[in-house]
Point group: C2
Chain length 455, copies 2
């Protein structure tokens, strides 16, 4: 019997799937590497969807990074879009995959399996399905449908449910397209992933840009006419709109994995070890369908960021192909760039830290992005949190019209290296009047934190 090449099957082809596939094929060029993707496209830029709406990206095709043809030609990877994996049978090393085009299911064998099934937009039970003017913004098809709707129907008012990343990015896009924007959200202030002072600034940025905020509310009931949603009712008011966007978060696509006995974490994502292997031998997982270990708290949590999808995918791909890579965890480090502001959040919130047994000490400052009297200098908000006992830095929020993103990367490195406030104050920042103030805003905040924490 001829020796058979190893077959690595990857479930999901948007972001981490193709990255894992390419890495696996590079590690073991003899392996057969196959991607099944339920949607119509593989290898997509998803973070860019709001910029299709704003027009910063005029052509949706720009977001299609690879096609099945280019993946085959450039990477030697076989990709099958419109193929949904419906079940895994680990004991037989088989999957059941359904060709959505043909409407037939078949079983396929694998030697190693990588689950890179990502996540999907959460739906709102209170809103009926099948309405024409209710959208999500998670897939390319949804973005194109939303854009087409706006161009064809010329709506005047949009109601967004949710005030996270997608809701806020979409709010800006709608404003650019000339719509009035109402925003309904459960929390007291928008952007619950950051600490309270930062949320106050985000709140002001949104209201300053003409967005009407409806805090502490959720949709309780709806008024529809045929296939059109006319209004939603919350505990406080009725909000009419011509178009609705539901942006209340993501759910990892793990149902088929759970059914196969793969362990799922508290936040609903697949749990893996440092090699990105699940509890079932030979089955790996990567990207937005997995939970990632937070470096500071050691807890696993959802961190649906493209950069982490990529990094975990490379580890899963390498290991599935017989290599030995590891991913030890991450500092959640993300940024929202809206209405001319960079809003960066690094580490988990003070509220989460308390839940996890830390005693946070917290400080915030308003500094300047450059020497204050130089042209272009902008106010820069920084907040930082450390543990009162160990003095180790645990989070940072930075909001400014410039230079916030990269400062979050400095803070993330300090958090990753478990630096204390005092050690961080010994670190080196560049200074030139045109680019940065002499005492960096991160140091200004760290010094305040040092004083507050009693040294």
């Amino acid at each position: 019997m001829a020796s058979r090449s190893k077959r690595i099957v990857i479930i999901g082809g948007i972001a981490s799937g193709p990255a894992a596939a390419a890495k696996a094929k590079r590690i073991d060029p003899t392996a057969e590497v196959i991607i099944y993707e339920k949607g119509p496209h593989v290898s997509l830029g998803v973070c860019e969807l709001p910029y299709l709406l704003t027009g910063e990206i005029p052509n949706p095709d720009t977001l299609i990074i690879q096609t099945p043809e280019s993946l085959k030609r450039d990477k030697g990877v076989l990709a099958f879009p419109r193929h949904r994996v419906e079940a895994i049978f680990p004991s037989r090393r088989l999957i059941e995959v359904r060709s959505l085009g043909e409407g037939i299911s078949r079983e396929e064998r694998y030697d190693k399996l990588i689950i890179a099934s990502g996540c999907r937009a959460k739906t709102l039970n209170e809103i009926p399905t099948g309405l024409d003017n209710v959208f999500h913004l998670k897939t390319l098809s949804e973005a194109i449908a939303l854009k087409t709707f706006i161009h064809e129907r010329r709506p005047k008012r949009v109601c967004i449910v949710g005030a996270g990343f997608v809701g806020i990015e979409a709010a800006e896009a709608f404003r650019i397209m000339g719509l009035n924007v109402d925003m309904i959200f459960l929390e007291e202030r928008p952007l619950p992933y950051i600490d309270d002072e930062g949320r106050r600034i985000v709140e002001r940025i949104l209201t300053d840009n003409g967005i009407t905020l409806h805090a502490n509310q959720s949709v309780l009931s709806t008024t529809t006419s045929g296939k059109r949603l006319l209004a939603v009712r919350t505990s406080q008011r009725e909000i009419e709109a011509d178009v609705f966007l539901i942006a209340i978060g993501f759910l990892p696509n793990v149902e088929f994995a759970r059914a196969a006995g793969i362990r799922i974490g508290q936040d609903g994502g697949i749990l893996t070890d440092q090699r990105q292997m699940t509890n079932i031998d030979g089955i790996y997982a990567a990207g937005d369908c997995t939970e990632i270990r937070d470096i500071s708290t050691r807890k696993t949590m959802m961190m649906p960021f493209a950069s982490l999808a990529y990094r975990t995918a490379r580890v899963a791909g390498e290991n599935a192909a017989g290599g030995s890579a590891s991913f030890k965890g991450a500092v959640p480090n993300s940024i929202l760039h809206v209405f001319g502001y960079e809003i960066a959040q690094c580490g988990v919130t003070v509220a989460s830290l308390k839940e996890r047994g830390f005693t946070p000490v917290h400080a915030h400052v308003l500094a300047q992005s450059r020497v204050s009297f130089m042209p272009g200098s902008e106010p820069m908000f920084v907040s930082m949190t450390a543990d009162a006992r160990s003095r180790v830095i645990l989070n940072a929020n930075i909001i400014a019209k410039e230079h916030a993103a990269q400062r979050a990367n400095v803070a993330a490195l300090a958090i990753r290296k478990h630096m204390t406030i005092d050690e961080f104050l010994e670190s080196d920042f560049v200074y030139t009047p045109r680019s940065a103030p002499m005492i960096d805003p991160l140091h200004v905040c760290a010094r305040k934190l040092q004083l507050k924490s009693g040294s």
Copy 2:
């Protein structure tokens, strides 16, 4: 006999002097804190001098951060401008100070002394003194004199000798003021503090902006007419100009310290311990007149950066006042912002590393500042160096029209923490299409370095 308050005398009042004074007074409010400054001003912004020429700072008074009056009122510090300290007598704890206004010298006692005498522009022996159209750009008076000369005499051509920070910043200012600029320098390419690929880019930025470069040359002789310098001659050519700027570096002001037996390092700066104390008990030093320990190589060297002047001054001030602070060294981390580019250098050059016994492995890449197809994305040059044996990162150069400065701060933190290439590749960077590409340029370069260093 009544108990006498401690007297802390500080030599030099531009940057580190006032910082040390303020810190000392805060630590020991009963101390008498006195600054002697030989020039007419105390507490000046010196890094901003080029922007007086460009007009970004219209009013020179903006650069006077404190006056003797405000220092007394706000900080309780006595400052005496136009007072030059001419000698230290450590055995008697006395200094000899000359009032330049009155033309008289006197002795003053000190309990603790802080030398914060800074540095001065190097002069060029080949150029006669006393010429009307030859300038340096180190003091506020020099900047004002140069600006006045240009406004009154309307020169058309300037010749700059030197291609370091000051020479290049001045070159841009002269271009903004409409002058033709010739630049003479000893090295093959401008900006010797960075590695060669970076220098090639700087060379192109300068020539693209109309500056005529004369590399590998020095001034050998001059042609003068009365008090006017008409031309300088190098080994290769004669260069005529209407005004000349000498910007060939700085010399620490340490002659009086050396005469008092204070130990001076190989680069000409005062040597201190981690408490910023010199070899003489009770005499501290801080700022540009001192050498600073480089974190990577453990050697002391000149790092004439305002941020380090400030940090060392605070340590000297605290310790002189009876506190216990330490300064363990720095990663040289600096930036030049000219012609719309941020040119950042972090760590010492490959050439210096070789001299100091390292076996450098080096990589460079051209990446993008944002997702490449997003509006505003700019090419970003990154080079990085690691030690071939330990794989520890030793330097980084970053050049781009945006976001280079803050990336140098990330690199500086990695260097300070002695991170290996491999560990650095596990670090966390924010990603959003409008602000940063999915794989950070620093990671792109680190990955290339990883491949080159054989892993």
